[in-house]
C-alpha cells in the first residue's frame, strides 16, 4: 500500500476548511511492531515509577535498621553502571550488525552484551546476599523493603532481558535474519536501552541521593 501522504481538498466534510492531509492508510509492520513495543515500554516505566514512588515514601522509614549511606558501596555501583552503559553500546553494535546482516559481529555484540549483563547481575546478587547475611534483608525495615523491590525489579528485568537475548541469538542461528526476527531484535534493543534509562534513575535516586545523607 502506498505510504505517501496525498494532500487534497476534503470531500463531503463540512467541518474542514482548506487543505487536509489525507491519512495514507495502515502503517507497515515494522512501524506497527516498534510502536506497540514503545507503548509497552511506557507502561513498564509507569510500573517502575510506582516502585520509585514507594521508595521515595519509605526511604526514611528505617525502623532502627541501617540507612542507605551505611550499606551502599559506591565502588560496586560504579562497576555496575559502567557494565550496563557499556552493554548498551555493544547492544547497539549488535543491532547494526543485524541490520547489515553480519552474523559474526551480531554474535559478538550479543555475547559481550550478555556477559556485561551477567556481571551486573552477579554484583547485584552479591550485594543482596551480603545484606541479607548481615540481617539487613527486605523484612528488616520499610526502607529495605522498598530498596530491594526497586533494585530487584530492575534486576529481574535484566534477567528477563538476558533470557530474551539468548533466545534471540538462538533464533538468528536457526532462522537467520528474517524480517520477523529483525523486528524482534529491534524490540529487544529498545528493551535493553530502556533498562539502561531506568538504571540511571535507580542510580541517581537510590545510590547517589542515598549515599549523601
Amino acid at each position: 500500500m502506498s505510504m505517501t501522504a496525498t494532500a487534497g481538498r476534503a470531500h463531503a466534510d463540512p467541518h474542514h476548511i482548506g487543505l487536509v492531509i489525507e491519512h495514507p492508510g495502515p502503517a507497515p509492520k515494522r512501524i506497527v511492531t516498534a510502536y506497540g513495543f514503545w507503548v509497552f515500554l511506557l507502561s513498564d516505566i509507569v510500573m517502575f515509577s510506582c516502585f520509585f514512588a514507594a521508595y521515595a515514601v519509605l526511604a526514611d522509614q528505617t525502623a532502627g535498621g541501617p540507612k542507605g549511606s551505611e550499606i551502599f558501596e559506591q565502588r560496586n555501583v560504579a562497576i555496575e553502571t559502567v557494565c550496563l552503559l557499556l552493554s548498551s553500546f555493544t547492544c547497539g553494535m549488535a543491532s547494526i550488525a543485524a541490520d547489515v546482516r553480519n552474523r559474526l559481529w551480531f554474535y559478538l555484540g550479543m555475547a559481550v552484551t550478555c556477559l556485561l549483563g551477567l556481571i551486573f547481575l552477579v554484583i547485584e546478587f552479591r550485594e543482596f546476599a551480603d545484606l541479607v547475611a548481615r540481617g539487613y534483608g527486605p523484612s528488616r525495615s520499610a526502607f529495605l523493603t522498598a530498596f530491594f523491590s526497586l533494585v530487584g525489579c530492575h534486576g529481574l528485568h535484566v534477567s528477563a532481558g538476558i533470557l530474551w537475548l539468548l533466545t534471540m541469538m538462538a533464533q538468528v542461528f536457526a532462522k537467520g535474519f528474517r524480517a520477523d526476527v529483525l523486528r524482534r531484535m529491534m524490540c529487544f534493543a529498545l528493551f535493553w536501552h530502556a533498562l539502561d534509562i531506568v538504571w540511571v534513575g535507580v542510580f541517581s535516586v537510590v545510590y547517589l541521593l542515598g549515599s549523601g545523607v
Binding site: H15, G25, P26, G36, V39, S43, Q61, S141
Partner: protein, 666 residues
Amino acid sequence: MLGKLDWSAIPFDQPIPLIAGAVVLVGILAVLAWVVVKGHLPYLWHEWITSVDHKRIGVMYILLASVMLLRGGSDAIMMRIQQAVAYQSQGYLPPEHYNQIFSAHGTIMIFFVAMPFVIGLMNLIVPLQLGVRDVAFPTLNSVGFWLTATGALLVNLSLVIGEFARTGWLAFPPLSELSYSPGVGVDYYAWSLQISGVGTLVAGINLVTTVLKLRTKGMNYLRMPMFCWTTLASNLLIVAAFPILTATLAMLLLDRYLGFHFFTNEAGGNVMMFMNLIWAWGHPEVYILVLPAFGIFSEVVSTFSGKALFGYRSMVLATMAICVISFMVWLHHFFTMGAGPDVNAIFGIASMIIAIPTGVKIYNWLFTMYGGRIRFETPMLWSIGFMVTFIIGGLTGVLVAVPPADFILHNSMFLVAHFHNVIIGGVLFGAFAGFEYWFPKAFGFRLNDRWGKLAFWFTFLGFYVTFIPLYVAGMLGMTRRMQHYDVAAWRPWMLVAAVGMAVLTIGVICQIMQLVVSIRNREALRDHTGDPWDGRSLEWATSSPPPVFNFAFNPDVRGEDAYWDLKAHAKQQSLQHDAPEYHDIEMPRNSPTGFVCAFFATVMGFALIWHIWWMVILGGIGAFATFVVFAWRDHDEYVIPAEEVAAIDRVNLEERRSLVSMAGTV
C-alpha cells in the same frame, strides 16, 4: 508436595458454595460432553479457541463477560436477600461467607464482566470502523483474552477450593496483610488480578496501536467514528493505569509471601501508600469502563436519530479531557483519611471539573436527538435510559465530591447506590446497547425486538427499585457491607431493594430469553444487507457477519460518518463497480499460543496461591516454551487467493446493492 493444599480446602461444612460449585461443574461437564459427542470439538478448536480473528476474540470476550455477569449477579441476589432478612438476626449467610460474597461480587463485576464486555466490543468493532483487516497484534490479542479467562477461572475456583478474599474488592491493607488474612483468599484475589491484568494491558497496547497506526486510507483522526476515539482514550488509560495495579498488587504479594513491609503496620510500612496507589489506578479504571460506553451511545444515538453526531469535535475534546482529568481526582476516594483541607479541596474541585466534559457529552447526545427522526429500537432505549440514569448518578457523584458532604456519606449505602448508579446506568446499559446494536454485525441476524424491550424495561425499573432505596438507607446512616443490623428504620428500604433485585432478575431472564428466541428464529431475523439499522460508519459497509478479511478492498474514506458518505456517493464508490479487480489477501494464521499460554498461567497461578513451588517452576517453563515455539514457526500468515475473495465479495455485493440503490438518494 502440594504446599498448603489438602482436603480441608474444600468447604464440606458449607452447603451453598458446594452445591453452587457442583451445579456449575455438572453444567460445564454437560456442555463439554455435548461438544465432544456432537463432534464440535475440532470446529471449536480451529474456529474459536485458536482463532486470532479480532471478531471471534471479541465475541469470546463478551461470552466470558455474560457468563461472569450471571455469577456476579448471583452474588448480588444473595447479598440483597441477606440484608432483607438479617434485621436483628444473623440471616442465612455467616459473616465470613458474606464477606467473601461482597468481595467476589465487586471483583467479578469490574474485572470479569465490565472489562471483558467493553474490551470485547472494542475488539469486535474498532478494526471494522477503522476499515482494516485486523488489530495490530492478532496473536497477542488471543493471549490477552485467554489470560483474562484464566483470571476468571481462578476466582471461580476459589468457590470450592479454599476461599476468596474477605477484604472487599480492593483488598485494603492492613486487613489484607498476612497477619489479618492468613488464608488463601487474598492470594486468589491478587494472583487472578495479576494474570488478567497482564491480559488487559496486552489488549490496551494492542488497541492503542491499532487506532493510532492502522487506519484505512483517508481515515484522518477527525474522521474516526466516536467509538474509535473513546476506545483510544480508554486504552491509553489502560496502558497508563494498569501497570500501577500490577505494581501495587506485587507489593501486597511481596508483603504476604516474603515478609516485606510496604503496607504493614510495623517496621515503617505505609498503609496510606496503598490507598494512593490503588486509587491512582482505580479512578482511571472507572473511566476505562465508561468511556467506551460513551462511544457506544454516540454511535447509537446518531444512528437512530438519523443524524450526524452533534458537536463531533467537542465530543472528541470532551473525551480526551476526561482521559487526562481522570488521573487527577483519585484522592476523592479517601477524603476522610486525613489528607487535610487544602488537598481535599483541590481534589474536590478537580472531581467537580470532570463533570463538565461529561455534561458536554450529555448535551451533545440530546442535541443529536433534537430534530432527528428517532427510532425507538432496543439499543436506543438503553441509550435514553442511560442518559436519565447517568445524570442522577453523576449528580450524586458531584455531591460526594464535596469533601464535607463526603465526610457524612463516606462508605455509606449512599456511596454504594452512587457507584452502582453510574456503573450500571453507564457501563452496563452501554454494554447492552452495544450488544443489541452490533449483534447483527457479529452473527448476521437481529435480536428479537419484543424480548429486548422487555429486558430493557425490567432492568431499567428494577435498577431504580433496587438502588434508590439504598440512597435513602445511606442518608439514614447505614454503612456498606453490613452482614446484619438492628436499626428498624433501614429495614423497609432493604425489603424494597430486595424486590427491586427480583425485578432486575426478570430483566436478566428476558435477556436470556431474547437470545434463545432469536437464535431459534434466526432465519426470519437474518440480515442480508449488512446494514440493518441504516448505520453511519464503516462496519456497516461490509456483510454481516463480515468475511474473515473484513473488507475486500481497503475503503477510501472522505469524511466523517464514512459509510453514510459512502452510501450517498455510492456511484463513485466500490459498491457500484461491476467487476472490481480483486487481489490476494494475507491474513494471520490461527495459533494455540494464547490458549496454551493461559493453561500454563492457570497452573502457575494456582500453584502460587497454594505455595506449590515445583508447579510454579513447571508453569513458568511451560509459558516460556510456548512463546519460543511461537517465535520459531516459519509461516505466520496464509493467503486467501483473489478468486476466493472475489467469490465471497460478489455474494455480499449482490445482497447489498439493492439497499444502496434505495439509500443512495439520501
